[in-house]
Amino acid sequence: MRQAPIGWLFIGAFLLVCAVFLIAPTAMLAVQAITDDDGLTLEYVRELASYRYVTAFEHSLYLSVLSATVGVVAGGLIAFAVLKEDAPRWLRSVVTSFAAVAANFAGVPLAFSFIATVGSLGLLTSLLKNAGIDLYGMGFSLFSIPGLTLVYSYFQIPLMVIIIIPAFEAMRPSWREAAENLGASNLQYWRMVGLPVLAPSLLAGWILLFGSAFSAYATAYALTSGNISLVTTEISAVLSGNISSEPQVGAALSVGMIVVMVLVLALSQFLSKRAARWAVKS
């Protein structure tokens, strides 16, 4: 096919920008993490094993796994309920459009909304206190991992609703009817038909939620201001020079994050292949 050479100019420009500003900086992190003035060194990679950074990774992983799981379960249930045959049509449009908004309502404004609500001086906190329920006296804190999970749920659950609704809609009523005709109970239908069919989508959703929590920075930064160390806030502390660390430590932490993301994606590819195979066989 004939094509104008100008086409290659556009393709080239796009690839060049990606190479210089996306791929090269990422490669630079890997190089920086293992070099210093005297050449190659593993000093900074080893520093990741220090108590401070191990804790940060533990916090980040724990928070991401927890909030992704809450998101998948709650989001899945909401999508499931709203797609029931007798659920009103308007309810479905309200839920999907609200989900699109809430999934994108993250970062600093979200953090301050929750501070205004269940922060130590928040409105709900004081209302409950007047009613005799002392949230903070009961050990709750917004500025903790459970608190952060609560805040993250505000974008994780809607994110899951958006992802999973098409998968639910793709399930044909005839499958259920066929299962019922063969004498399957509701539980049997879900165990042997519904969940295996949904498994790849649920898994893909979990991975996306994990990634969005793991790389979240703004919400955590505005909320905790350093009270809880997460990998993202540790990297920003290194970058802004708030702690006396070498920039190489920031690079090593960043590489650590990328490695986690790659591992999680690889694992999900592997699992979803297995899940897909299983679904076809049964």
Partner: protein, 256 residues
């Protein structure tokens, strides 16, 4: 069997409470004037704050510049890739997933390590358009890819060529109009995401809306609540646009 039932309603009511409470509380909290006084004084104060409007103006300019970058750089590259070099598709797919694998904070660490000049580039807030381009890349790519697959690009182009149109004419008069809804959808999503972006702006020390909001939130909680409520409304408006542009299809959210 397939009925909503009590369990279903319970789930929906609980979800409604969980999602409505912070919004209502934030809106009420923003009216608090100390003690048991409520009123609009914070809003009046914010309305007369030039720093707020400067920060907002900067964020809007950055969001528009990012949309322009997507339209000028990504869309033509994707069209020509599909037309002339489908072999490059795996490379494009790889690039479009990279920003998901490389978290924003890691990318900004890499950028600040690698790119230390020249000053005309990194000294201006518009430097942020580069990372914002990658922030928007995964979902803009996805939605434009869906748009391109939905139209038969090769047939359209050949039809245009057989009618004597040049490549530029075909793209401007045939291809771009049929990609309109995909482009409008990703543009609005980009506007919403870039407007509230914090990571890059905070680390690279530029005074955008989200950075300003974080600053004000450290000492004036009611003002922060007011701006948070306003941000929610803005996100709502942008997403309403996305839904309308996409014909009722919910858009995939951005990376944060």
């Amino acid at each position: 069997m397939n009925r909503l039932g009590i369990g279903g309603w319970a789930i929906l009511v609980l979800a409604g409470l969980f999602f409505a409470t912070p919004l209502v509380m934030t809106a009420v909290f923003s009216l608090w004037e100390g003690g048991s006084h409520y009123g609009f004084s914070v809003y009046k104060l914010l309305w007369h704050s030039p720093k707020l409007f400067e920060a907002m103006a900067l964020s809007i300019e950055l969001a528009l510049a990012t949309v322009a970058a997507l339209v000028l750089l990504l869309v033509p590259a994707m069209i020509f890739m599909n037309l002339a070099a489908p072999r490059l598709r795996p490379l494009f797919e790889f690039i479009a997933t990279l920003p998901f694998v490389v978290p924003a904070i890691a990318l900004v660490a890499g950028l600040s390590a690698l790119i230390t000049g020249p000053d005309w580039l990194i000294g201006t807030p518009f430097y942020l358009v580069i990372p914002y381009f990658f922030l928007a890349l995964p979902y803009a790519y996805r939605s434009i890819d869906v748009g391109i697959r939905a139209i038969d690009l090769t047939t359209l182009t050949e039809a245009g060529q057989s009618l004597g149109a040049g490549m530029g004419q075909i793209i401007v008069m045939v291809v771009l109009p049929s990609l309109r809804s995909a482009m409008v959808g990703s543009a609005l999503l980009t506007l919403a995401v870039v407007f509230g972006e914090f990571t890059f702006a905070n680390v690279l020390l530029f005074h955008t809306y989200a950075v300003y909001l974080n600053e004000i939130g450290q000492h004036e909680v009611t003002a922060a609540a007011a701006l948070s409520a306003a941000s929610f409304l803005l996100t709502w408006i942008a997403m309403l646009g996305v839904l309308l542009a996409g014909g009722g299809r919910a858009a995939p959210p951005g990376v944060r």
